[in-house]
Subunit: 201 residues, 4 copies
Amino acid sequence: MKTMKDKKEQKRALILNAAIKLYSVNGFEETKIADVAKEAGVSFGTVFSYFESKNALYEAAILEPLEEIRSYFENVEDHFQGDPLDVMKAMIDCHVEIFSTRKELLLLIQQVLARPSRFPNLFEELDGFVNSFVDSINSIIEEGQKLGYFYKGSPSLIAESYLSFINGIRLTFIDDETNPVWERFKIQALRLFGPFYKSEE
Amino acid sequence: MKTMKDKKEQKRALILNAAIKLYSVNGFEETKIADVAKEAGVSFGTVFSYFESKNALYEAAILEPLEEIRSYFENVEDHFQGDPLDVMKAMIDCHVEIFSTRKELLLLIQQVLARPSRFPNLFEELDGFVNSFVDSINSIIEEGQKLGYFYKGSPSLIAESYLSFINGIRLTFIDDETNPVWERFKIQALRLFGPFYKSEE
Amino acid sequence: MKTMKDKKEQKRALILNAAIKLYSVNGFEETKIADVAKEAGVSFGTVFSYFESKNALYEAAILEPLEEIRSYFENVEDHFQGDPLDVMKAMIDCHVEIFSTRKELLLLIQQVLARPSRFPNLFEELDGFVNSFVDSINSIIEEGQKLGYFYKGSPSLIAESYLSFINGIRLTFIDDETNPVWERFKIQALRLFGPFYKSEE
Amino acid sequence: MKTMKDKKEQKRALILNAAIKLYSVNGFEETKIADVAKEAGVSFGTVFSYFESKNALYEAAILEPLEEIRSYFENVEDHFQGDPLDVMKAMIDCHVEIFSTRKELLLLIQQVLARPSRFPNLFEELDGFVNSFVDSINSIIEEGQKLGYFYKGSPSLIAESYLSFINGIRLTFIDDETNPVWERFKIQALRLFGPFYKSEE
DNA sequence: GATGAATGAGCTTTCATTCAT
DNA sequence: TATGAATGAAAGCTCATTCAT
């Protein structure tokens, strides 16, 4: 009994991962369910016994991985301790790690952001995600501003700038996945918060 | 003779603009030639007398507008004079103007960047565009670094950061088109170059 | 042993009744085996342990109930005694009772009659049923004609008229199931045999 | 211009007739659009440029022929003149002609009547048709009753009986199309109105 | 050159049937 | 025996492209 449930779970994951891969590369319309099935190594009827429709599979391919990273954006204070500067540095490390290794998810997210009217439910979800993040680091930025670490000015401007920046990196340099490349951008991300110089400079 | 040529040119533009609008909102696959024809106010078959195929129309919809803005990214020194700081400020003004008003083009560009294998010719073209820009402002950044305006470090890192940033803004806040919103981001863009503070702060 | 056999019999009946209900309402094609299973309260695969195929289930759903009523059409003389007029009145009572309460069976029969080439075996069976009925009351009608009760003319014409009439009522007023409605048609059925007036008129 | 419109009209009729033929024989679900196309001698994409969907084609296949016969059922008084008896005889002649030659339409109608919930719009239309007919001959029957031609009793009972009768003939003896067969039933139809004998008897 | 009817490949989705458990 | 996951044939429908007018 246990084994059967596990097997089902496993097969579902197989399909979902195939979907994530293909959707992210080819987009919703040009991804064919037959291709997903082949990639997952199942017959294509099977895809429909695990996911109700092509649309439902797309939603799952975005929302389920989103859950895995949600906490690192919406509960920043829970994950990173220390003074505001340390928190931001740790957060940037974490986010850069996510953005550099999760290209597929970010591409999927971008597909949705680029077509709000086509995917209204998903768009709303992702829009909420963005807003939650901005809210989530608001007080940290304010504290950092008081301590003189960060630029004065609207915390949400800074938060939005930061998010746009890492998102922009991901989308503009789509082929770069190597860590050293991403490593270099961390200092730039930090500079959106305040006038930081690398110690060795 | 002249008039007829003009009329043809005009009809072609009608179709191309309709294509830009619809492709940018709906993507390549979900944009139907019939919809483009209707939006352009021409008959269905006419689209095919001006553009060889759906693919060709897509390429034109991206490459032709790209030409209009190319110069502002690849010949920065020709457009903006003064010391490096002034040049960068003017360039940011110009680019923000372009990015805020040309949402459609940026969305189209993103569609291509997100799917290199699907649109290899276009991708190569756009990849070259990015690299040209980075090269183009290299010497300006170096000069600014010498003058102490800008952060030390790889000029291309700074250039790439900047491009990613404005692109990220465009893509993350897809619905914002109002100028005031974009205005606020200019200072953040500048901060990727060096530790700047608004005068009123 | 006995109990197990009974249980099987019972489960089979459960499935068959569900099939009769759904086939009659939705027709052969639009009735899904999964729906039959759900209606019967058994699991999906179980249907196939009792009936070889969807086709076999359909045949059973028609032929088995048909057996229950066959005798009242093919052995009229055995069931109704008296002079021809009384026999016909009793027969009409009986048939109206059957047609008014067995809507499902009549709908199934009609599905077959309407598509001889699709269900050749079933059609032949039902066609034989009709002919048997016509033969079966032939002598009664002849006798009634001799006694002056019934119209002169071909007995089979009268028999066919009668059968068509009750069948037509059933099919034309598909929603009427109330007995009073059917009661009114009895006198009309009788009038196909001879010029009868209700006593109260 | 005229020619083109005519050609389109002609092709539409080709498709509609093929649909009528196949739908009536095979029913809605088992009729494949590909078969209709083949029967009509067009490619199957063409079917969809004349009719929006399989459903729409089905509705047209029923409602358009229905219009052709509607008047003979809903405007009985306009078509048949004379005393009530003559009107009824003429009407029966007309209706028998229609029912014997229009098997396909009657089969289609029956498909709808048998599945009200599947074809609600069509069912409503046809139900209205039946009621209109019953209303339409009401006064003629009443007049015939006053003149002593017809049985006393509810005119709508008689009207419904008559309609059920010819419908029942059509459906019970699906294969008979020869006129002589139908001719014999006319006297039986008339006997539902009153106690008539053929002159030669 | 402009039109839009005709075509048919290719897609998503359904569901009877099979079969391992 | 009972189950329900897996399969894949088959269907409706879309739409880029062709081409006769």
